[in-house]
Subunit: 386 residues, 4 copies
């Protein structure tokens, strides 16, 4: 399918996303929606057979289906028509080596979260990104929803006055019971060797954290957390409760759970200031509630003329025509393509700084929980470690 | 972008959909989402300059950018790599000649609604389609939502018992005032020469009608209608009120309005039987309400295991990850591609019969309104006129 | 319990409302809530034993428990402490004789709807009321909700501009099946001898009609109706579909059903004008939606400072503290007490004119349905018949 | 107004509730609704003039309008027709002395929350109540909603399996700004001398706490809290964030705020177990969500046949006829009247044990907040101090 634009399509490679994976397919639909990318190469699986089968299904030439990321970079970088952007959609433990190598090879990166396994890796990657002059997009995809961006703009514009409270939660039910052995998604997400030291915290808690910082425009200074696991023999947390203190004076609470029976993918946030509040929920993403102090609540939609031109680029349909998860995800790819075409930086596009903050949050929450919930700083802000 | 399938992409041509059009771009995104189609040719505008500019934007080779549908068919049919499917997304008056010629040229058709300008054209096209052995998809896109299909399946399965009431409405506000002269969408939709004799009735009323028949599994026998226009000097109706009698015994009401201030794209339906009811609204398409008699209402979502495998093919994401208008639209293209690959017919896919019924409904509603709302039959059901 | 007011309590008699009745108990709670009435006498049942047992339960002296309304009026009017207000809560066929006699005896009336069995009785009662200088309150209780009154005020104030559409519906499920023989409520409501010629139409359709006129400030000129019954051997309609033409130019639709499986007491209304619309639903009565053209919808609550002082009298609690059906019902009694104390007339309080209009609507809808839905005038408006 | 019962009305006295008070009027409406109480005496204000004026308004004989609670008890206890029940609706600091004296005088108590100023007073009162054999009702009125009681029953019945998470919040906006000097409500609630050491915590946080224990059937063992105040020069907290550990293994979070701009009276709770969750919100009290694991959410209403007979006594209207705050409040008075008539104890009726737990929670939360959120036990459970 051709693209709705005269701009040439960017050549995309993918690491991860083999048969049975979830997020790889989402990245492909997101990249495809606006016809700005073309998938040309990949390492889709560490299993050779699955790797080739996926390449075949996706129409990727088998000569550009590589055994590992080193081979991919070695094969693609010399080509005139080699990949320009690499999407990294593997389990967590592979993000860092793949992303670092990609940046060092001079290609742009689109990377899944959590960015790395720890703070040191995150900071190492941040330095590499800064040195590389390449783009690094971290797929905190919920930031791609136009009304999330609008919420952020309303806060920044001062519509709520000084912020007081930030309440965020991310609830899923899918790990309420011990998963089937056949569930590939559950298998790696509950395995410390592949997921890292954080379970629910790293999988969805970090999304909630990023969203809270994204909309509030404030950064979390300190956290008091209680991690727990409801299911026997589970190595990682499946539930996170946390109190937050923000650098701009707001206080907040964060609840992330994968044992919240009855909830599918219930990410939601409320940001409350002196003069009103905003409320948004991912499962009904086409509405944003603005609740002014002492006045009637207002249901904002994508039709709202107050949407800035920048946000409007991510709106494909008139109000009342629902856009969803794929469209929001696609907005990250769209913004990257626009940015590269115009040599600009979309301020909202989540990137390396979100990743460093996210890893600091994970690290601090783990430490706090181990210390009976004592308030723990997200240290070394702005002071890169040596 | 490559496709998630080993099946080759279908070659698509488009008639209509030049710069400034709305629905052409939707068709392109819908066709692109699952990577099953490739746009190779088109007549994007009757204005030569706009036509070429659109082709350029879309990456269509200028030698396959044609002046009219006759030229397109003449140019494409001899080619080995010629278009296989033609999407017709023009103003209404051009649907019939383009679709007829396309079928006669042996290509498959995806056509916008209302299918034709009148019943005779519709029946003529039906005969042509039957003779051609080609596929004809009518983009009653709301049938593409998985939960709409699930509602239809629940009714067919008898979960509601015998149906009693079918209430459907489709409300928009965008024609509440006389539109700007620059509004290309409004211009043709309010011009009898291009839109036909029906305004709101043909534009959105026919969607509501199709949805009512689609979910209820009953056909409308008789209609009592009142058409009106709220804005001075408007040549066509902008509001439709109708009472319906269905062939299976249900009674219903239909309200379609483009002067419903405060409503964006509010298509909704309730189907009520002896033992319970179903309720669905397009602006919140990821939930379907099942309200059993004397029991608690249930909010069904796409996660519901009761979704049949056929419906499940149109679900790309787990529950709680919202899918929207583009995804539903894409399900029509996906089903066409699947059907052609497997030489099957998706029973739910709206086609020529929906188009004939739709034109009969439009015709009967116009007649009833002119006759002070007298009950008017949708005549000649199953009896093609000569 | 004593009253929150220095004003003396009004002495109330009740006709109807014996054991097993529904609405009589509601009237008593409503009258009691603000402590402005004292029940002193009654005819609670035509069965002597039930009559006395009810009086005993209610603490009414047995000497003031009468066999019929004639006896009640004969017994109470001579007493210095005799009843001042008579609440008539019988089956429909008794409203007229009891109300007429009460007015002629010089007492105030609170009467259930539908006011009479036909137009002639209604007009006769209207003349009697005019002649009597007594108050006549018709318990169209939904008008008692503060936000319904606020909706009416917003329309009157011109906030919506000229009205175009009025959509009202009243859905219940309780008659979806043939009721148990033991169901006293169903028994008289489905019996033409006691309910009159209209079933669902007279029981709840007339509420919907009154609400439409009440909020819109327009009167219905003509109706096109289709009455039907879904349950075998049911003598009266259980479903009403109607198109409406209002004297101010608005068009509307009315749907009332007692076979709407899955709906409990779903009265709702939308009033749409040039510049916006209002939406209210009885099951969530503490919110009123104001949907301006092209702008964000607003959720108005009782806290809204725009509530006029008159409306505010009927608000007993701050916003966020739900008020319900009883409170709204009580507002009719409260307004009557206030009116009598101050010798004023609350303009909103439903009365004899609502009753005459209601009977004309019932009569016209029955006639239209018998005439295949032909548009039928609500004749003799303002021209009392001889 | 007479009562719907042959049982004699209970004679009620009131301490507090003078002109300008809020909750006193609510108690009077609640006591009046079912006609089971008669207000006969009171101390409505410490200001003599206001006291008498209130008595006059309420129809209380001036000889039974007393200067203080000692005088009231001295005056009423010798009378044959003396008050039987005393409602205490004063500012917090007066609850303890009035309640203690009333119990010691042998009368039943209905008391506002928070029960006392501290744990020692609460335990002292508990001993007095136990010794007195009189009833002590604590108006945690939200427990009076039928669907709250139904939620509690569903949990107790094991419908959710073992509980994992209890999330409760109570949000108001009314103290977002420094209140007017004329605001009597705000004045005492923000004054440590009258409200106690807890502001928002004692005013609404304790309601949230009670609701969490009430529905979950578990008691809070430990709390980690952060109290704060958003408005300058405010002596007491206006915001409470807390993590909770329950004795049955559940974990929870509690947020109470009176600076939550945009929220009116938003008390809500979610209780989540292995097999499903329940969700209820006070502003829409006529629905209770049951969300089974991996299945469609269900909207339970008061019509649900699963409501036990005990709960059903507090339901006055069929489903779809909204009941609200006053009705729920009235259920406490109704249950007290029923209990006294039948010499029974309604297990659900909040009383002295809720008060002791509430004061221990307040005390522990204050201590935790002062200790940087360290986990603090609600000590001495079941072990009355000497």
């Amino acid at each position: 399918m051709t693209h709705d634009s005269t701009r040439p399509r960017l050549r995309l490679a993918m690491i991860g996303g083999g048969q049975g994976a979830f997020i790889g397919g989402v990245h492909r639909m997101a990249a495809r929606l606006d016809d700005r990318f073309e998938l040309v190469a990949g390492v889709f699986s560490s299993q050779a057979e699955r790797n080739l089968a996926t390449a075949h299904e996706l129409g990727v030439d088998k000569t550009r289906c590589y055994a590992n990321h080193e081979a991919l970079l070695a094969g693609e970088t010399p080509r005139e028509d080699g990949a320009e952007v690499v999407a990294i959609v593997t389990p967590n433990h592979l993000h860092f080596p793949a992303a670092l190598a990609t940046l060092e090879a001079g290609l742009h990166v689109v990377c899944e979260k959590p960015m790395t396994l720890g703070v040191a890796e995150a900071e190492r990657l941040a330095r590499a990104a800064a040195a590389s002059q390449r783009r690094f997009v971290l797929t905190h995809n919920y930031a791609g929803y136009p009304l999330v961006q609008h919420a952020r703009a309303l806060v920044a514009r001062g519509e709520l006055g000084r912020l007081r409270h930030v309440q965020v939660e991310y609830l899923q039910e899918w790990l309420s019971e011990a998963p089937d052995a056949a569930n590939r998604q559950a298998a790696w997400r509950l395995d410390p060797a592949r997921a890292g030291a954080a379970g629910c915290l790293g999988d969805i808690g970090v999304h909630a954290f990023q969203l809270a910082q994204f909309i509030s425009g404030q950064r979390v200074d300190q956290v008091s957390a209680e991690l727990s696991s409801a299911v026997p023999d589970r190595a990682l947390d499946d539930n996170v409760q946390a109190l937050l203190r923000f650098d701009g004076g707001a206080r907040g609470m964060l609840w992330a759970s994968q044992t919240a029976a009855g909830f599918e993918n219930a990410l939601s946030i409320r940001v409350i200031g002196e003069r009103g509040s905003l409320q948004w929920a991912q499962e009904t993403p086409n509405e944003l509630w603005f609740k002014p102090l002492n006045g009637p609540s207002q249901r904002l939609t994508r039709r709202d003329d107050a949407l800035s031109a920048e946000i409007g680029r991510g709106v494909r349909l008139p109000g009342g025509h629902p856009e969803g998860y794929i469209e929001a995800f696609a907005n990250l790819y769209q913004a990257l393509a626009d940015d590269l075409a115009a040599d600009e930086h979309s301020a909202w596009l989540p990137g390396i700084a979100d990743g460093v903050d996210g890893m600091r949050f994970i690290s601090a929450a783990l430490a706090s929980s181990q210390a009976a919930g004592s308030w723990t700083s997200l240290t070394q802000r702005g002071a890169p470690d040596a």
